[in-house]
C-alpha cells in the first residue's frame, strides 16, 4: 500500500472566513437583520459626524441655553447652548468604541483562559475557575466603581471595568464548551497522530467553540454598554468635555424638569443600541447553539 493518495483540496483560511461571514449574514432572522441594520446606521452616523462634521461641532455654543427642539436644533440645546445632535453622535461613538474595544480584549482573554482551562482540566482548570469566581463575586457596578476609583475616572477606567466585569462569565462558558469538545474523538485522534498542543487548541478546540465566543461576545457587548453608562452616570466614567451616552443621560437628569428632551434622546438611543445587540445575540445563539425545538406538549 504505497500508492499515492490524492490530497483532499482544503479551503484556505480566507475562503473559510468568507464562508463563515456569508453564513452568519444569511442565518440572521428578520428581526435580527433589522437590529444589525440599526446598529450599522449608528456606527455610520457617528463615523460621518467625526469625518465630515455631520450635525455640526459638538463643542461649539450655537444657541440659547436649554432651547426646545426646533428646526435649527432638532434635539434641542444643552445647558451651555450646544446643539444636542453632534453631542449625541459623539456620545454614540465613544460608547460603542469603548465597548467594542473592551469586549475584544475580553474575548481574547476569556477565550485563551477558557480553552486552556477546558482542555487541560484538573488543577489548571481549578485555578482559572477560582480566579474567575473571585471577580464574579463582586456586584458588577461595585467592581466598576472600585476600579474607576483606583485607576482614576475616565475612559481607561471604563475600559478596565468592562473587561473585569465581562471576563469571568465568558471564561467559564468557553471552558465548559471546550471541555465538551476536548472529550470528542477527533481531538483524541489528533493527540495520537502527534499534533502539537497549540495546534490542537487553535485548529480543533477554538474552531468548535467559536460559536460560544460569538454569542457570549454579543451579550458582553450589551453588558459593556450598560457598565459604561452606569459608570459615566455616577461620574466615574467618561469625563466632560467628552461625551458618552451615560454622560449625556447624567446631564439630562440635572435639567430633567426644565428640559426633558435632554434625557429622552440619549436614553432612547442607549436602549435601542442595547436592545439591538441582545436581539442579535439571541438570534446568533439560536443558530450557532441549536437545540431540539419540537415538543409534544
Amino acid at each position: 500500500m504505497t500508492g499515492t493518495v490524492a490530497p483532499i483540496p482544503r479551503a484556505t483560511a480566507a475562503q473559510a472566513a468568507r464562508r463563515g461571514l456569508r453564513r452568519a449574514a444569511t442565518t440572521l432572522d428578520p428581526l435580527a437583520t433589522v437590529a444589525a441594520c440599526v446598529l450599522l446606521a449608528m456606527f455610520a452616523a457617528t463615523i460621518l459626524a467625526r469625518l465630515v462634521g455631520l450635525g455640526g461641532s459638538p463643542t461649539e455654543i450655537v444657541g440659547t441655553r436649554l432651547a426646545a427642539p426646533s428646526l435649527a436644533f432638532p434635539l434641542g440645546t444643552d445647558s451651555l447652548g450646544r446643539s444636542l445632535v453632534p453631542r449625541l453622535l459623539e456620545g454614540i461613538g465613544t460608547t460603542l468604541l469603548l465597548s467594542v474595544i473592551a469586549v475584544a480584549i475580553t474575548a481574547v482573554l476569556a477565550s485563551t483562559a477558557g480553552i486552556v482551562a477546558g482542555y487541560r482540566g484538573g488543577r489548571v482548570n481549578g485555578t482559572i475557575m477560582r480566579v474567575g469566581d473571585m471577580l464574579y463575586a463582586f456586584p458588577s457596578i461595585i467592581l466598576a466603581i472600585l476600579v474607576a476609583a483606583v485607576v482614576g475616572p475616565g475612559q481607561v477606567a471604563a475600559l478596565a471595568s468592562i473587561v473585569l466585569v465581562t471576563v469571568p462569565l465568558m471564561t467559564r462558558l468557553v471552558a465548559v464548551s471546550s471541555r465538551a469538545v476536548a472529550d470528542r474523538d477527533f481531538v483524541a485522534a489528533a493527540v495520537i497522530s502527534g499534533v502539537s498542543t497549540p495546534r490542537i487548541l487553535v485548529r480543533h478546540i477554538l474552531r468548535n467553540v467559536a460559536g460560544t465566543i460569538a454569542v457570549q461576545g454579543t451579550y458582553a457587548l450589551s453588558i459593556a454598554i450598560l457598565v459604561e453608562g452606569g459608570l459615566s452616570f455616577l461620574g466615574y466614567g467618561v469625563q466632560l468635555p467628552g461625551s458618552s451616552l451615560g454622560l449625556l443621560i447624567k446631564e439630562g437628569t440635572t435639567y430633567m424638569v426644565k428640559a426633558p428632551w435632554l434625557i429622552v434622546a440619549p436614553g432612547v438611543v442607549l436602549v435601542i443600541a442595547i436592545l439591538c445587540i441582545n436581539v442579535i445575540g439571541d438570534s446568533l445563539r439560536d443558530r450557532l447553539e441549536p437545540r431540539e425545538t419540537r415538543s409534544l406538549v
Binding site: 482548570n125 457596578i141 472600585l146 436614553g267
Partner: protein
C-alpha cells in the same frame, strides 16, 4: 450521601475565593489615590496631626499587618470605625441594612411572582410565529432598559405629576413597616424590571430545554394533563438554572443596588458605599465590598447544595476532574 463527600471540597473552594477576594479588596482600597488624611484633616494639616491620625486607625503599621488585623477583627464581627462619622461601621451598616433589604425583598418577590410564570407561559406557547417574536421583544426590552434611565424617568414622572406615590422621604422598614412600603415600591419596581425580564428569559429557555426530553413525550403518551406535566415533569427539571439566577440576582441586590439607591435618594448600603468611596472612608469601603462578596459566595454555596439535593447527578459530576 454523596453530597457529604463533595461538600468539603466545595467549602474549601469558597474559602479560597473569599481569601482572594479580601486580598483584592484590601489592595484596591489601599491603592486609592488621594489620602484619607486630606479628606479628614484638609490638605493643610500638619505632619504631626497626620501621624496621630494614622496611629489612631492603625494605618502606621505595615500593609500585611494591617490586612491581618482587619481580617481577624472582621471575623469577630468588628469592622472598625468610620473615619467620617466616628461611629462603628457595624452600627452604620445596621441602620442602613433594613432599607436595602426592603428594596431587595420587593424586587425578588416581584421577580418570582411575575418572572417565573411569564417564562413558563412563553416557554410552553413558543411555537414560532408572531407571538414568539413579540415575547422575545418584550423580554429583550426588559433587559435592555438600564436602571439609571428607568430610575431617572420614574423619578421625573412621579415628582412632576401627582401620580399617587411620592419620591423621596424614604421611611425605613425598621421604624415603620407599613409606612415604608409605599416609599420603597417605586425603586423596588425599577430594580425588579431587569430581574423579571432576565428570569423570564432563563425560565423560558429552561422550560424549552426540558419539553423536548423523551420523558415529557412519554407523559403526553400516558394521557397526563398539560398542567400536571408542566408542574411535575417540566418545572422540577427546569428549576436548577432558575434557582441559580434568582440567587445571583438576590446576592447582587443585597450588595449592589447602587444606582437605584443613588437616583431615588434611598440611604441604603449601596448609596452609602458610593459616598464612602468619595470620602476615602477605608473601613467602610473595605467592609461594605467584603460583605457584598461574602453574601454572593454564601449564596452560590447554598445554591450548589440545593442543586445537589434537587439533582443528585450534579454532585457526582462535580467530584470528578471538574471539581
Amino acid at each position: 450521601m454523596r453530597l457529604l463527600l463533595w461538600l468539603p471540597g466545595r467549602l474549601l473552594g469558597a474559602l479560597v475565593v473569599l481569601v482572594g477576594v479580601s486580598i483584592l479588596i484590601f489592595a484596591a482600597v489601599r491603592s486609592l489615590p488621594g489620602g484619607y488624611a486630606d479628606v479628614i484633616l484638609g490638605s493643610l494639616s500638619s505632619p504631626e496631626a497626620r501621624a496621630a491620625l494614622a496611629e489612631q486607625y492603625g494605618l502606621d503599621k505595615s500593609i500585611p499587618e494591617q490586612y491581618l488585623l482587619w481580617v481577624l477583627s472582621a471575623l469577630r464581627g468588628d469592622f472598625g470605625t468610620s473615619m467620617v462619622s466616628q461611629l462603628p461601621v457595624t452600627d452604620e451598616f445596621a441602620s442602613r441594612l433594613p432599607l436595602t433589604l426592603g428594596l431587595g425583598v420587593i424586587a425578588i418577590a416581584l421577580t418570582v411572582l411575575i418572572g417565573i410564570p411569564l417564562g413558563v407561559y412563553t416557554g410552553t406557547r413558543s411555537t414560532g410565529g408572531r407571538s414568539s417574536v413579540l415575547g422575545r421583544l418584550v423580554s429583550s426590552i426588559g433587559i435592555s432598559v438600564p436602571e439609571f434611565v428607568l430610575a431617572s424617568v420614574i423619578v421625573f414622572l412621579f415628582s412632576r405629576f401627582a401620580l399617587g406615590l411620592r419620591v423621596g422621604n424614604v421611611v425605613s422598614p425598621a421604624t415603620d413597616l407599613a409606612a415604608s412600603i409605599p416609599t420603597l415600591i417605586l425603586p423596588g419596581v425599577v430594580l425588579a424590571v431587569f430581574c423579571i425580564a432576565s428570569t423570564a428569559r432563563t425560565t423560558r429557555d429552561a422550560v424549552l430545554g426540558v419539553l423536548v426530553e423523551p420523558h415529557v413525550g412519554a407523559a403526553v403518551a400516558r394521557g397526563e394533563s398539560k398542567g400536571f406535566i408542566i408542574r411535575h415533569h417540566v418545572l422540577r427539571n427546569a428549576s436548577i438554572p432558575i434557582l441559580t439566577l434568582v440567587a445571583t440576582l438576590t446576592a447582587y441586590l443585597l450588595g449592589g443596588a447602587v444606582i437605584v439607591e443613588t437616583v431615588f435618594d434611598v440611604p441604603g448600603l449601596g448609596s452609602y458605599l458610593v459616598q464612602a468611596l468619595g470620602r476615602r472612608d477605608y473601613a467602610v469601603i473595605q467592609s461594605g465590598v467584603l460583605l457584598a462578596t461574602v453574601v454572593f459566595v454564601v449564596m452560590s454555596l447554598l445554591v450548589d447544595v440545593l442543586t445537589g439535593l434537587i439533582d443528585p447527578r450534579v454532585s457526582v459530576a462535580k467530584k470528578g476532574r471538574w471539581a
